[in-house]
């Protein structure tokens, strides 16, 4: 079985490569089309036309677009995403510094979405036909119709300001520092044995992760509920009952395992969106991740960073989909090779 899954992973990666190339072309062309001139931005106001022409040549901007793209792609493959115009540092390094924080946030958000969504779906299913189902339904519709940045503000107002329960800025209290080992803060805290900092870091992540998760939760709940409703009428569920299997086990073992399959596909798509949602949430929580870096770069028209970050976001979505596909194959024996 593990060989099969390896095969599927390799095939998916093979598909992902041309996709990434396509994404890189799109990113490159779109950023060439926007009316921002990197040369004009890097020149002092009193620069002469000769100065400008010299810089254009130096930056390779006089070459045909496809040629420029080839050079850019060659550099990316060498791990060189260029230099930030605003910070003057290599983009690769800047992204490397901020990406771990975003990954941590997105993973925690996905965990929250799963941990609330799946039991919520089962709850909705159990309440079927009762008046309380309506209440939960209305609640989940409300939850779904609020975008994540509004959730972010709402959570700050309630838990941060009104009750003053949780912090809502940065990754750690201002007086606390943790030596950087892997860049993943939670991991670094554990590696340095600083439990207080670990708990603080978690406390700081709670609100932004929750804000990310809340938009996805109702979707998971509803799909799981309707899948359970479909599955509960299936013959094998009736047969399990006729074998005397207790109702709780009928639901958890027989119905749920089958109902999870469509929900899993949805989660793959949703977690891709969730990763994109970090952009706004990070800004609101002053969270030093990739989203914040990207928004800052957009503000400065810092093209190399925008290009790099866009590529990383695309890569992340592809990776998430791949991971979900693998899980899907593990839990669905029909997709495995017939023996």
């Amino acid at each position: 079985m593990s060989g099969e899954i390896l095969g599927i992973v390799l095939r998916r990666i093979a598909v992902a490569i041309p996709l990434m190339l396509l994404v890189s072309i799109l990113v490159f062309i779109v950023l060439r089309l926007i009316p921002a001139d990197p040369v004009a931005m890097s020149m002092p106001p009193n620069a002469t036309n000769e100065d400008i022409e010299a810089l254009r040549r130096e930056m390779g901007l006089h070459l045909p677009v496809m040629h420029q793209y080839a050079i850019w792609l060659g550099h990316i493959l060498e791990g060189d995403l260029g230099r930030s115009i605003a910070f003057g540092q290599p983009v690769f390094k800047l992204i490397g510094q901020s990406l771990p924080a975003t990954i941590e946030l997105a993973v925690l958000g996905a965990l929250f979405a799963t941990a609330i969504g799946l039991p919520g779906g089962i709850l909705l299913f159990r309440l079927r036909g009762r008046p309380s189902e309506q209440a939960v339904d209305v609640g989940s519709t409300l939850m779904m119709s609020i975008p994540e940045f509004l959730w972010a503000l709402f959570l700050i107002l309630v838990f941060g300001v009104a009750f003053n329960l949780l912090p809502f800025a940065g990754r750690l209290p201002p007086d606390m520092t943790i030596p950087r080992v892997t860049g993943f803060l939670l991991l670094d805290c554990l590696l340095t044995g600083d439990l207080t900092a670990f708990l603080e870091a978690i406390r700081h992540m709670l609100l932004p992760a929750l804000a990310l998760a809340l938009g996805t939760v109702p979707l998971i709940m509803r799909l799981l509920r309707s899948s359970l409703l479909d599955v509960i009428g299936e013959d094998y569920v009736t047969m399990a009952r006729l074998r005397g299997v207790p109702e709780r086990r009928v639901i958890n073992r027989h119905a749920l395992r089958n109902a999870l399959l469509p929900t899993l596909s949805l989660m793959g798509v949703q977690f891709g969106f969730l990763f994109g949602g970090t952009l706004l949430v990070e800004v609101i929580y002053s969270y030093p991740g990739l989203g914040n870096l990207m928004v800052e770069a957009v503000r400065n028209t810092d093209l190399p960073i925008i290009q790099g970050a866009a590529l990383v976001f695309a890569l992340a979505v592809l990776t998430i989909n791949l991971a979900v596909d693998v899980v899907y194959i593990v839990v669905n024996p029909k997709l495995r090779r017939a023996r």
Partner: protein, 602 residues
Amino acid sequence: MSLLALNDVNVTTEAGGRRIDVLRDVSLAVGRGELVGVVGESGAGKSMVGRLIAGMLPKGFATSRGSVTFLDRDLLAMAPRERTGLLGDAIAFVPQHPMTSLNPVLSLGAQFDEHLRRLGQDGKAARRERALAALDSVHLPRPADLLGRFPHQLSGGQCQRALIAMAFAGKPDLIVADEPTTALDVITQARVMELIDELQRDSETGLLFITHDLRLAAQHCQRLAVMYAGEIVETGPAAALLSDPLHPYTRSLVAANPGIAGPVRRLAALPDHMPGLSGFADLPGCRFAPRCPVRDAACAAARTALTEVVPGRFVRGAGACRKQASALAGQDELPRAAADAAAPPILSVDGLGKTFRSGRDWLGRRRAPVVAVDGVSLDIAPGEFVGLVGESGSGKSTVARLLLGLETPDGGRIVVDGQDITGPFQRTAKQRIALIQMIFQDPQSALNPRQRIGRLVTQSMEVRRPPARWPERLERARDLLGQTGLPQDTIGRYPVQVSGGQRQRVNIARALCTAPKVLVADEIVSGLDVSVQAQILNLLLDMRAQRQISMLFISHDLSVVRYLCSRVAIMNRGQIVEQGPTEQVFRAPQHDYTKALLAAVP
């Protein structure tokens, strides 16, 4: 002492503000080691009996009268928990759809393990041993290999054997088998029934066999109960009940089955169909009265009781119904429509072949191609019905799809009325539509639920250029409804507003719209109850007599093929293994596969 006894049970529900007795006065007993059959058409309430025993009546249904005793205990008075405790252990079930009754994401081993643990077997290794022994007892080869498999990797027969093994694993006192072989092919059905007989003979287990197939039940059961519209109309020893049915409904059931031997007589079809649940409330007296050929004024008014007519044989009725046994017998023998051998065939298929090369495995390697149809040659004379018989997967439906152009053949020729229509559908569509039409198996899914019947039956006029005008279509629709015995007022109804039998008539009417030379009918009566099936078969015979239509009649049911078709072709694994005049093939089959098929018919 009876193992299971139902005494005067009424199961009641409410619909439209009226109380409806879904089951009325049902009394039934199963003794230790006894095999009792409950026979009835769909909607007769026979599955409700199974649900009653399981304690799983649908929502809104309740037992309003009577008692159900099992091993001298009142099941209805028992606490739900205790009742659930009996399931799988003392009372086991064998389901109707074996393929879907096993959980698709759990291996067979995991499902056995769960079941045996539920039965109180400790130790994973011990459970595995028991599972292996159970699979061995149902004659499944290589049981250790099977335990690691998932349901989709097994055939229907294998699934049903595994489920039977599970049912018998706990040495239950009672097994309820609800249509356990309906989803299986004839030969598999015969083997599974043999297996049930064998396991049951070796144990003390009582078995309640619920089925629509009177002959199958009579072949395997000691006693039978025949149900109609929620009531038991007749009970008695199986053999006597089949050879000498007393109630008019039982007689009509026997008469509606064409049989595979003896003279072919025109089937005596009951008019109309069994009422649905909501119709029960309007039938205070005998529920069979509206369809009964020997009813009188008293029948519909008075509620009737089961009375012992002959020792051991009980019949429901006022008495009048039993006296005129001859009312249903005495149909004339059908003349065999002798096809004109000299006439050129209207349909000629020569060396037809189709191989499916689809799918790749995970490394991108092509899977082995599937040869679905392999060198099939077949002629049909004008006005001739030819039967194409085979089990599921034999390729018979692919032949139909090739004839209709839904698939393009790899080889061979299809000629209809002198025109070659072998090519791909796009090129031959115009010719095909006028020459050959298909009647689909399931009218429920073949008819667009959002179109009225008048529109549905004239669908093929839509492709004309210029398109047919509505008055013209309406006129054609009226004509078609008349030809298929449908009342004219169905023209403005939707498919859901007519009965199953009428829907199949609509389906046939639609195929007749272009007045095609050849009809291809794929299992068109297999979803129908026997009494409705008889109506449709007679309709087809009348159509042939009046219109000289030719038909390729695809079916797995040998008795139906014998009734309709003068010639038959037997198909197995993509090839026609034997073909000839029906009587000759049935009386003296040459090929081993034909012999096995005929032997498996109950």
